[in-house]
Amino acid sequence: MPEPEPLIEARRLVKRFGDFVAVDGIDLRVRPGEFFGFLGPNGAGKSSTMRMIGCVSPPSAGTLRVFGRDPVADGPAIRARLGVCPQRDSLDEELSVRENLTVYARCFGIARREARRRAEELLEFVQLTERARDRVEPLSGGMKRRLAIARALINDPDVLMLDEPTTGLDPQARHLVWERLFQLKQRGVTQVLTTHYMDEAEQLCDRLVVMDRGRIVAEGSPRQLIDEFSTKEVVELRFGNERTDAVAARLGDRLTGCCERQEVLPDRILLYTVDGDATVDAVHQRDATPSSVLVRRSTLEDVFLHLTGRTLVD
């Protein structure tokens, strides 16, 4: 069975700003129907990549094909089929909520009546129908984000591009956004998302790449990545006010024996292990005396930590 033609394909893609290399030769393919993610900390080059795919930032080197076309030559035709929710909402504060959608629709050549119909439908979808006539400015962050997502959907795009859709939102607002994105996924909309939240990537993405300093450091489904780069469970040890590096020095290699790998962070020590409870027992036997102990499943955060030695959100 041949693979379907990828909607987005990049080879050795590079973005430079002056001497600074923001995206450093990445390869990727996004297939139809897929929920694809970029996971990486701030400055990893996620937005730069998204903007190149969105044909608003010309690649500095490498090849990029979106819908099989060249973004530099065919920008308008490609953008007609993309829905973009940029990192900053950049909503039009002079317009009402509904006008933000209908006016945007005109940029895609959608006729006035059709634009209005779609706007109503999308406002319903993102639960903003009651606010349709309000100005944008007083809306909450979550509402603005939902409106930006609705706006990105106005042209019934073949690919929805979401740059950090939930950054800065409170937990409730995040869940509402996730729920909507999941519904779109069920409808078969191809989505590309960037995030520095591992739980977001883990919940939503079929496949993701981990980015750091402009490079892709790992690629696969969330499960694959965790299996490959982390252990099944993690034990987190905290030591009250004592500095963790001092603790690590004090304990020497007493902890090494009870886990596969250990990671010393400023506020805690992580022990990677197959069996968390057994490791906890071992820790107590060796008089490590942590002030608190937590056993949890491995996450993408651990994958990132393992690959780069740093945490995602600092």
Binding site: R79, R81, P86, Y104, R106
Partner: protein, 284 residues
């Protein structure tokens, strides 16, 4: 097996959608420029914008009444370089028309466009649609020209009603006013790409005011010191004022073509350079 079938279906869908590229992307240049225009038109329904629109005619009219008639009452008639004697209001009115055709499009294209582009990040979303940066620039320029045309139309009607020009003169001056707006709109867009922040706005405002004051507006240029005359001949507003005067009470000759050509040149060059630089700002 199921997965295989799914892939086939997805592939079909992708194929079907490839066929849609041209249908969805068929919105033409005119439609895209129109979309930008429509955005401004929609925003003009807000109270503040609407009031600005409604009061746009006020400034040139008040200047005409105050300087043209008020001060003009102290002056009576003035003698032009060619010996023609005209009442002061007749002399000043065309300059007010030209100045108002300048200031609206110029301010909106420079400060207004800059604020929309840099501070409000309005176009960050627009460039993600089929609309290109050049089309954004043209759409914004058209919007400011539409407003300026409206003011110019009202103003020439008033001029004619006050007997400051003939109906023919008014009809001929109207497109020239729009051309002045175009020239300054193009220039403003170009300047917008060089601005860096609020503090530059003061300089622009000052430049406009100086041009307003010294483009042969309140006194014939021939009465200026010689050095000043040279500088004044370079400002587009001088050519605008002169062109309008030729049509409203003067005798149009070859000089008129020079004035009009200068304005067209400034507008086209400004718009062309601006489009290129705006692309670089919005699509880095």
């Amino acid at each position: 097996m199921v997965r295989g079938l799914l892939l086939v279906r997805l592939a079909r869908r992708a194929e079907g959608r490839t066929g849609r590229v041209d249908r969805a992307g068929r919105i033409g240049r005119v439609g895209r420029v129109g979309a930008v225009f429509l955005r401004d038109l929609t925003a003009a329904r807000n109270l503040g914008e609407a009031l600005l629109l409604a009061t746009g005619l006020l400034e040139p009219l008040l200047y005409l009444l105050s300087i043209g008639f008020g001060v003009g009452g102290l002056i009576g008639e003035i003698t032009l370089a060619d010996g023609q004697r005209v009442p002061y209001p007749v002399f000043v009115a065309p300059a007010m028309l030209a100045a108002s055709a300048m200031s609206g499009p110029f301010m909106e294209s420079s400060i207004g466009f800059f604020a929309k582009m840099r501070f409000r990040k309005l176009y960050d979303a627009t460039v993600c649609t089929p609309v290109t940066p050049a089309e954004i620039a043209i759409g914004e320029l058209l919007w400011s020209l539409a407003q300026a045309s409206l003011f110019a139309l009202s103003f020439v009607v008033i001029m004619t009603a006050m007997g400051l020009t003939t109906v023919t003169g008014a009809l001929a001056a109207l497109p020239v006013a729009v051309l002045i707006g175009f020239a300054f709109g193009g220039l403003g867009l170009l300047l917008a790409t060089f601005l860096t922040g609020w503090q530059d706005f003061d300089y622009l405002g000052a430049a406009v005011f100086l041009m307003f004051l010294f483009s042969g507006t309140f006194a014939p240029v021939e009465d200026y010191p010689t050095a000043a005359q040279v500088v004044v001949h370079l400002t587009p507003l001088f050519h605008g004022v002169s062109a309008v005067r030729d049509l409203t009470f003067g005798s149009p000759g070859w000089g008129l073509l020079v004035h009009l050509g200068y304005l067209v040149g400034v507008g086209v060059l400004g718009l062309w350079l601006a489009s290129r630089r705006i692309s670089r700002t919005l699509c880095r």
